[in-house]
Amino acid sequence: MAAGIRSPHTLLDIKGLRTQFGSGRNPVNAVQGIDLQIGAGEILGLVGESGSGKSVLALSILRLIQSPGRIIGGSILFDGKDVLAMSNRELSGWRGRDIGIIFQQPQSCLNPVRRIGWQVAEPLRQQEKLSRKAAWDKAVTLLRSVGIPAPEEKALAYPHQLSGGQAQRVMIAVALALRPRLLIADEPTTALDVTIQAQILELLRDSCRDFGTSLMLVTHDLGVVARLADRVAVMYAGRIVEEGPVAPMLTAPSHPYARGLLDAAPRLGQMGGLRLRDIPGSIPDLSQPMPGCAFAPRCELRANLGLSACLGELPPFIPISEHHAARCWALPQADGIYSTPMTMGTRA
């Protein structure tokens, strides 16, 4: 699918999702009303810094939020089916078969005392009721397809005998074993070295293309997003602040936070003598009420334009183009605000 064009078939449809942690007087509102769709075969990059709620959103979709956390509102439809209404029995069938997950630390997700071949074979045995032999053979095939060398022998290995990159390949094999329709990958390459990262990203992209799997790629790294995503959503303080096709999101984002993220990361070969633009301040406390835009206290644009609405009222999504919108009060009057590239002053 070409970048930025939504598939006509919506696989995942989230509306008004809210997830809260803790009770008492000041619960933490980790996810505060998220609307998000993922089309069949689409790769969505979900970008945000720590504390933005991106992992909580991913776990909420899988119904893996544990007490004291709970989903307190909204709906999640997976191919028209209400995920929030599923029984535990339905959930365990749905996970693995229709939806798979890959976490950041593969070594901590694999069972240390079972051979990796059996860990890949297990979902095949449980869900497809394959015989031991058939499941094992299919596991070896899967290990080969994710690029594990000598898979017949490696299937007999235990997780501690694998490198980090190999362990992540095994996780991908487990997640893809049943050809789920949606794969959620939460920082899948953050713990890996850059040479291994490049190969794992390529593997994820090719697997999704081959099987028509949709991918929700949760990451803090815009470079990773640039490599894979069709569409990008940027989260800040529990909300999506901007969403659009990958090209404009990475070249001309409209929300000052999305812009700030882009300018704050040093880029190879492009920094000669320039100074990085940092974002002053830090993320807000999500247990305190925030009537307005959560980014307003750090926002230079608000300060420059002298906007009064930002602190008082939550901005709605303001359309920029057909599939591109941002939550920012400055947008209606923002024509040309970024006409001079915001990027970097000269270095002291």
Binding site: E49, L201, L268, R275, L276
Partner: protein, 339 residues
Amino acid sequence: MSLPPLLDVNGLHVRYPIRKGLFGGVVGHVSAVDGVSLTLNRGETLGLVGESGCGKSTLGRTVIALQKPSAGNVRFRNQDLFALSAAELKQQRRFAQLIFQNPRACFDPRRTVGSSVRMGLDIQELLDPSEREEAVAEIFRKVGLRPEHRFRYPHELSGGQLQRIGIARALILKPSLIVCDEPVSALDVSVQAQILNLLSDLKAEFELALLFVSHNLAVVEYIADRVAVMYYGRIVEMASTHALFSSPRHPYTRALLAAVPTMDIARRDDPVPRLGDPPDPANLPTGCRFRNRCPLAFARCAEAEPLLVTAEDGHGVACWAAESASIDAGPMTAAALNG
């Protein structure tokens, strides 16, 4: 040669024993640092890059005498660090400080951060005790915090604020060298930029030399004057930042650079370098230790290990192929790397 360098590392080796079995018998060694020589001048920043396990952190810790080498020596401010008495070493420690990756893990949770920062002054008995509190307040301002922050405990501060305090703790002793071991890797990108800018301001203001250890090539390019690339205990390439990033000569450096994801979506489908899996550090290949992953390897690479040879332009590389000039000096594409 006018002034001697601030730091002069010569033929440094650090070997760790591999122990196995019930009684922990030594069954082999891993050479985390395997014959490294480098120099660092006052006010200069040397970036040290490489993948996990390549020995870059061990090297950083050894040059400030937190780890004993198995061979080789380190001259710092014209003194052989490992020939000093304990008292003399303590005096030198003041001038060489360390900033860690995870600021949360390196502060005592039961002390206020101000007292952690002050501790260096107390131990080194610098300043009059009555002046120390004012010095702490002053250094907090210097790193962009309010003096009142010094009465807080680590859990009351964000990661970025704590890393500023980590810098303050190093800076308060007026060191001439700071080893920064992945100082921004645990931070979010917006905070990472704050800390990088702070470090680059401070190094100019205090004429600090930095040994900046990182796996993040873009960060190193931003902060460093010179860069050394490490591969399993050896420096395989060392040059000025501009030369290293614009015309890398070692195939490993080229692969590292080609693997960094670019923000340029026009190039998103470019093939990525295939280096294969890293070797077992206890059992490196003979000859050049990179040869089993190297697209350019030829017979000679298995026979003898290439040494770091510095060309007239100051660009050092340890590679037989680069030395015989069989590759041109332009940036290499991933396609060429894959053969």
